[in-house]
């Protein structure tokens, strides 16, 4: 089976972000970057399929400047076979622009399966996977939390609000991966050494004119400090009243 996984390098989300001087992007100074978690689960899914299906091949693709090579090598050190960097000065915000560049690359690869994370936490669009499927004319299943492939057919589970949906699809297909599908393996130390010797091809990304741009970025307003109404049981009536009349949560 020929599998492609499209991955993105994202900042560690457990930090306080600062807005850059252009007021439309984050200041990347001092930030730690790593593979998007959803994408890491997509890589893991591809590797598990590879282990089950002898002769399979996993290619990871990332669009962006040269720093994404580190992210590609992380996937290679987990066990992917080769990497492709679609080189661009920056990652456009416009999902369609990215999807067009990826689909150009993916068309040539004759992949049976193309995996994405369901979204990236930095832009939270969740658009690139389905858009790429559309451009390729492939079926698309989003946010899967289980996956089986047998005899050229696939089944997957999707978690819905209060229900689970089981879908069937034919290959080739585009899938986007949700939490719960698997736990991504750590790159082993041997894997890290082996990754240096695996092929990593660099090609210019075919970037069309983006139709969507970030105009302005703002931090959410500071939360107001809490108020202590009183202490002990005596304070309860007033607290209940304030929760009803002021906070309007009861």
């Amino acid at each position: 089976m020929k599998i492609a996984v499209c991955i993105k390098r994202v900042p560690d989300m457990d930090v306080r972000f600062k807005i850059g001087s252009d007021n439309a992007s984050i200041d990347e100074t001092g930030l730690k970057f790593d593979i998007n978690d959803f994408d890491a689960w997509a890589v893991e899914a591809a590797l598990q399929l590879k282990e089950k299906n002898a002769g399979s091949d996993v290619t990871v693709i990332s669009l962006g400047p040269d720093v994404v090579q580190e992210t590609i090598r992380k996937a290679l050190s987990m066990g992917a076979d080769k990497g492709v960097q679609l080189k661009a000065d920056r990652v456009p915000f416009d999902g369609l622009t990215i999807a067009k560049a990826l689909s150009e690359e993916l068309k040539a690869g004759a992949y049976d399966l193309i995996l994405f994370g369901k979204m990236s936490p930095d832009s939270s669009n969740g658009a690139v996977g389905p858009m790429t499927a559309e451009l390729l004319g492939f079926p698309c299943v989003t946010a899967i939390s289980s996956l089986e492939i047998t005899n050229g057919k696939g089944t997957a589970k999707r978690e819905l609000e209060g229900a689970q949906e089981f879908v069937e699809f034919s290959l080739p297909a585009v899938l986007t991966v949700d939490e719960g599908l698997n736990a991504a393996r750590y790159p082993s130390l041997k894997g890290i050494m082996a990754a240096k010797k695996k092929p990593l091809e660099v090609k210019p990304a075919q970037i069309s004119n983006p139709q969507v741009r970030v105009r302005k970025l703002e931090l959410p307003p500071e939360r107001k400090a809490g108020r202590i109404v009183g202490e002990g049981a005596a304070a309860v009536p007033e607290l209940v009243q304030l929760l009803q009349t002021e906070a309007k949560v009861l």
Binding site: Y186, P187, S188, L189, K190, I192, M193
Partner: protein
């Protein structure tokens, strides 16, 4: 990361950072959740051995042809740092397996011994221990009384006792150092690969430890242990051979101590920010700020020392005396940092729920093993003055 005040990350290669991140994540997931209980129960968490082996942590700086990861020495040091961020006992386990058992087989073993043992030790199938120290010969290993006598048919018979042996009761093989001649000279000391199921070999857990409780420390007794000629490490010869192993292990300790110090510093910093006393976080009081500033300063110096030593080792230009300086300094400052962190945590600092007191107690062993702090002082004294103050 709060303990990377000097952005030492930027001095590491992508591969070195990747190795560090893998071991860091492993320790977060598999060591930190269990280590407090293991320490209280006095048991080594054997269940983590397969995971460590799968990731390639044993003998990680030995060549790939023997099933090892073939990492450079800085990456190896970072593994030790991250493991000891979990616990000195976990780092000790890996140090012994890699630097004290796999290394001597690699350095002094025959090709047959290397191809037989190294891949199985890298995969964790065989666990090893290292028997040099004896009940009456610690800082002076040359005085050892364990004897190996060559028989007419070329086989060997070993008699003696070894003490303070990490992994002693867990191991399937022991590297045992013994005098092969009758004289008192240390020139006849040679190393043997001893399967621990050989008749006459017994290992006994050393009870009553108040330090390194999550580690197997045992006493070995060898009574008429008969070994074939092939048990001898053919290229070992003289006290220099085991000392070369110790240099490898001490190098890892210089890094490991930094991991313990980082854990304590980060715990203290987080605690100081959250613990409110007299109406504000204790981090806002000058006394605690001085503590944190001193801890951080020594930590950063130790990090830079370990990294530069690693670069020298990778360049092949380091000396055992430079390793002595780094082991001596880094363990000493880590011990101080752990104690100050314990104090900053107040009463909570004595609980196993926090890590500082566990590290503090562990580091007292690390201060004493692999060349005591005092012996390293004398090594440095001799190195700079040319005068021997050992005897």
């Amino acid at each position: 990361m709060p303990s990377d005040f000097y952005n030492i990350d930027s001095a590491l290669s992508e591969e070195e950072r990747a190795v560090r991140d893998t071991v860091h994540a492993f320790v977060d997931q598999h060591v930190l959740p269990v280590i407090g209980d293991c320490y209280v129960e006095g048991r080594f968490p054997k269940e983590i051995i397969p995971g460590m082996a799968d990731l390639g942590m044993f003998g990680a700086n030995l060549p790939e042809q023997y099933g090892c990861a073939g990492l450079n020495n800085v990456a190896y040091g970072l593994i030790m740092q991250e493991l000891e961020r979990g616990d000195s006992g976990v780092r000790s386990f890996a140090s012994v397996q890699g630097a004290l058992v796999m290394y001597p087989i690699y350095a002094f073993g025959s090709e047959d011994q290397k191809t037989h043992y190294l891949p199985k030790m890298a995969s964790g199938e065989i666990i090893g221990c290292f028997g040099l120290t004896e009940p009456d010969y610690g800082s002076n290993p040359s005085g050892m009384i364990t004897r190996a006598r060559e028989q007419k048919d070329g086989s060997w018979v070993i008699n003696g006792a070894k003490m303070w042996i990490t992994n002693g009761s867990t191991a399937q093989v022991a590297i045992v150092w013994a005098k092969t001649g009758d004289d008192q000279s240390d020139k006849s000391i040679r190393g043997f690969i001893v399967p621990t199921d050989t008749p006459g070999f017994t290992a006994k857990d050393q009870k009553g430890k108040l330090s390194l409780r999550a580690s197997d420390t045992s006493e070995l007794v060898l009574q008429d242990v008969r070994l074939p000629a092939t048990a001898l490490l053919p290229k070992s010869g003289g006290i220099k051979s085991p000392l070369m192993c110790l240099t490898q292990a001490r190098y890892g300790i210089a890094w490991g101590a930094i991991g313990a110090a980082q854990a304590c510093y980060e715990e203290a910093l987080a605690y100081a920010g959250n613990r409110v006393m007299f109406g504000k976080p204790i981090a806002g009081f000058q006394l605690q700020q001085q503590r944190l500033a001193e801890m951080l300063t020594e930590l950063v110096k130790g990090q830079l020392l370990a990294l530069h030593l690693g670069r020298l080792k990778d360049a092949g230009t380091f000396s055992p005396q430079q390793v002595s300086l780094a082991k001596r300094n880094n363990v000493s400052i880590a011990t101080d940092i752990a104690r100050e962190a314990r104090r900053l945590l107040g009463a909570n600092g004595i609980l196993a729920e926090y890590s500082s007191m566990r590290h503090m107690a562990n580091l007292e062993s690390v201060y004493t093993y692999e060349g005591t702090h005092d012996i390293h002082t004398l090594i440095l004294g001799q190195a700079v003055t040319g005068l021997n103050a050992f005897e």
